[in-house]
Structure formats: structure tokens, C-alpha cells
């Protein structure tokens, strides 16, 4: 498999961004790891290097490490390469903060609202975070989110009063 194109892109970007680590995963997939405070600089650099579109911001809750990983999924039509830009922030709700990138990629505003609602990450500078998104107010107040420590089964049992249908000691439910 010829990975020259991918290696060239990674080298070119790493030259200008010494704080980042970059690897070629396979054909048309590259990966960068960066510190969270440099995310804006790095995405600006990617935009200059023809990564025209942001596909998604995936928040991943790594409970054991006490960290939330944000994966910015970037796609370049020019190179036909998908780049994962990974950064890790603390898991505490107060400390889970990164600067917004919506002025660089306007579409990020939507993804940031999604990540804020389901993973409680605050994107500083995005004033639409508190606007109603997918969850209902009632669920939001009860703390519903997709973080790993949220007891979804317990909440569902309480909300829909399905107490008799589940065995308390059985953990491995296929819902």
C-alpha cells in the first residue's frame, strides 16, 4: 500500500505545528494528537492545508483515565484524506473546557452544541450552547447525558416506572 501522500501531508503539518504528534493510520486516514489549548491554532493550520470540511466532533468519555477525549473528524476534498484530531481534557464538568472553533469552521457550532448537551463539555465562546437542542428540559434537569457514569437503566426505570420488569442484581442487560 502506498502511503506517500499521507506521509507528506503529516510531515508538512508537523513542521508548522511542533506541539502535535502525527501518524499515518492507513491509506486515507491520518491522526494527530494535540494539547487542548492549541486546538484553534491547529485547526487554522489544517484549514490552510486544504482540510475544507469538519465532519463531526466526537466526545469520548474515558472514565478510567478521568478524561474526555474530543475527536475532530476532518475531511479534505483536495487530498481525499480523513484526519482525526484528538485532544484530551479533564473529565470534571467545571474543567471540561476548550475554546470554540466555530469561527474557523462555522458548522462546528452544531457539533459543539451536541457535545455540550451529551458530554457536558463547554466550548468557550459559543453562545448557542445553552439553546434548546435535543433533550427535553425535564431530562436535562435530571442530569441525562451520555457520559459513562450516568445510570441510564436506573433513570429509565424511575422515569417510566418499570421497576418490576428488571432484576436489581442483574447487570448485563441487553436493552
Amino acid at each position: 500500500m502506498n502511503l506517500e501522500k499521507e506521509q507528506m501531508i503529516v510531515e508538512k503539518i508537523l513542521q508548522k505545528a511542533p506541539y502535535a504528534e502525527g501518524t499515518v493510520r492507513r491509506q486515507r486516514r491520518i491522526e494527530f494528537r494535540i494539547p487542548p489549548d492549541r486546538i484553534r491554532d491547529f485547526l487554522m493550520l489544517l484549514k490552510e492545508n486544504n482540510f475544507e470540511t469538519m465532519m463531526q466532533i466526537t466526545a469520548v468519555d474515558w472514565l478510567k483515565d478521568g478524561e474526555i477525549e474530543l475527536v475532530y473528524q476532518m475531511w479534505s476534498y483536495t487530498h481525499a484524506v480523513h484526519a482525526f484530531v484528538k485532544t484530551r481534557i479533564p473529565r470534571d464538568v467545571d474543567k471540561a473546557r476548550v475554546p470554540t472553533v466555530r469561527d474557523i469552521y462555522p458548522v462546528a457550532e452544531t457539533y459543539e452544541r451536541d457535545a455540550h448537551e451529551f458530554y457536558k463539555v463547554t466550548f468557550e465562546g459559543n453562545d448557542k450552547l445553552e439553546m434548546p437542542w435535543i433533550l427535553e428540559d425535564e431530562d436535562k434537569e435530571a442530569g441525562v447525558c451520555h457520559r459513562k457514569d450516568f445510570d441510564m437503566l436506573g433513570y429509565v426505570k424511575k422515569k417510566y416506572k418499570l421497576l418490576d420488569r428488571f432484576e436489581e442484581d442483574k447487570e448485563d442487560y441487553v436493552i
Partner: protein, 391 residues
Amino acid sequence: MVSQQELVKEARENGMELLPLEKDTYELFFGPQHMATENYSLILKMDGNRVVKAIANPGFLHRGFEKLAEYRPWYTNIALFLRVCVPEPDVPEAIYSMAVDELMGWEVPERAQWIRTTVLEMARVTSYLFWTMGMAFKLGVYTAGQWAAAYRERFMALFEELTGARVYHIYTIPGGVRRDIPGDKWLRQLRDTVEYLKDKLKDFDNVLFENYITFKRLEGIGVMDKKFALEEGVTGPNLRATGVKADVRKLDPYLLYPELDFEVPVLKEGDALARVLVRRFEIEQDLYILEQLLEMGPPSGPYKVEDPRLKALPRFKVPAGDAYAHVEATGGDFGAYVISEGGNKPYRVQIRGPSISHGVRVIEQLLVGARIADVPVILMSLGNCPPDIDR
């Protein structure tokens, strides 16, 4: 004519407070019951019959699939994710399976690849026919819409024979497909259906795509340019309507697409008409791809990988790692990001539907200045599919 003051007074007497809106504007809740929005809502601030401001209001279809997937074994998740996109449920199945294949390091057998490609193309045609139905109804050209629904039924029957289900197929699974092609008769039926629909495209042109009403209604509304489209994450036919030649099947080829010959239709105007016509040309290309696949014929061999680990599916484990797979759906770029920690359940799955960019920021900006009658048409021309946003 009742004056504003009197209205405010009457409202207060009845325990209501009228919101002070500027000028003669009023707020209109468009959806989720409106037929055009499909369980999705827009809050429109109207001045007369012009939209001054639009706010997307999703969330009526939220079922928490991404969270549910973390509680279920790898194979049972197929039955969840296909519900993310109702008109073409094979796409979420395929992306999830492709990502798991990559994590497992499986080389999917050739026969399975052929079947997957055929199913994806059939799904594209089915989805475009469904979309044609919606578009025709919104334009008031009901005849074409009813034809599209009827022709879609032929593909549904083929799907039923292949997979056992009409809409939700649960057919593409990690490692291949769930069962083999029923026989040569099915292939002949598919060939007949493709030829039949190819003939009927002329009728669609006459009644819908070359119709004066279509041009009059669609030309010059909901216009976006190339720069806007790229920055806003617009993908698929909507991006191609702004002059960008981009197709995941060409740029990031998967399955059998590198071996197939097809064109990527591109138009420059970027308005609703261009988006509709790009889709019209794509139906033709998809039928051409299906013809080529039938010409090629399904290769012999197994239809799924043979792996001893598949004997006990609830205990089936996937090595730790992450993978991203995406395909070209009729809405645009449909992707899945799957993370495994080495257990018998996924650690995290994220589905990226095209409507998360089309249906929120893009629609909010395209609707400004549009007439109320054009709102459903612009929404439909973007191919908005609300479950992508809500998941």
C-alpha cells in the same frame, strides 16, 4: 381591524402575555406535525409571508441510539443503527459493519462485497424514489409522486425476497451479509426492475423534472455558493449542486466502487433547482451502476467471513481501537466512528448523518428571505432527514 393595544389588553385579561415582536412580525411553529418537516420543527419569525429568521428545533426523534449501543453486544447493534435513516436503512448498517471489519482486520469475501454494493445501490435508488415522491408532492405534481411510490414498491419486493424485510433489512452485518442471494431468479427480477425503471425515467422528466412548474418554483430559491457549502459541512448532492465534484465513492472508494464506471453529476447554480436536477442525474447513474453489477454477476465463494470467534455471538469481542467508515448516501456523507475497548460491546459509536449540517445551520440561513410556500420545498431540496440529527 383590532388594534395592537386592544389585542394586548384582551390577552392580559385572559392571563396571557403577547410577546413584543418588532414591526408586523409573528412567530410560526413550522412542524413537527407539518407533513413537510417529517418530525422536525422550525421556529420561523415571519414578516407577512417572508421568513425573517429561522431557528431549527430538532429533538423529536431522539432515541439515544449511541448510548444504547454501549449496552448491547456488537451484532445486535445493527438492529439499532439502521433506524437512524429510515429511507435508506442499509447505509448505517454498512458503515457500522465496515468500521467493525476494519477493527477486526477482516477481508470481506468478494461475494459479500458484491452483495453489499448491490444492496447499497438499491438503497440509493429506493431512497431517491422516496425523495422524488416527497418533492413531487411538495410541488403539487402528485402524479409523479405516486409513480415514484409505486416503482419504489418493486424494489421493496426485491429487498423482501433478499433480506426477509421490506424497510428495516438488518442484512449487512460485520464480516459480510446475513444470508445469500435467493437464486438466479432474483437477479433476473432485479435486472428487469432496473430496465423497467430506466424506461420510466423519461416519464418522470416529462411530468416532473422538465416541468414548467418545477422550474418556476425552484429556480433561484435557497441559493448557496461553494465557499459557504464547504464551510458549513454540506456534502453529497447538495455540495455537487454548488460545483464541487466530490463523491465518497470516488474519493474514498469502498467495496466494489473502484471497479465500477460511473460519473459524478455536477451543477454550478447552487439553488434548489440544481439540487433537484443533480439528484435526477444520480438516479440514472445508480441504475447504470446496478446494470454493471448485474453484468459482472456475483462472484462465487462464501457470503461472510469464516471465523471461529463468530460461533458465540454474545461473547464476540472486537480488538481495542477505533475506526471511521463513511459512504455516499443520498443525503450526503454518512459516517460512523466506532471505538472498541476490547470487550463484547462497543465503547462508543457515533453516527454522523448528513442532515446534522444540512438541517440545522444551513437551513437556518437559506430560509432567510424565503416565502412561506417555499419553506417545504427548500427543506426537501436539501434532502433533510431529521433522525440523522436526533439519533
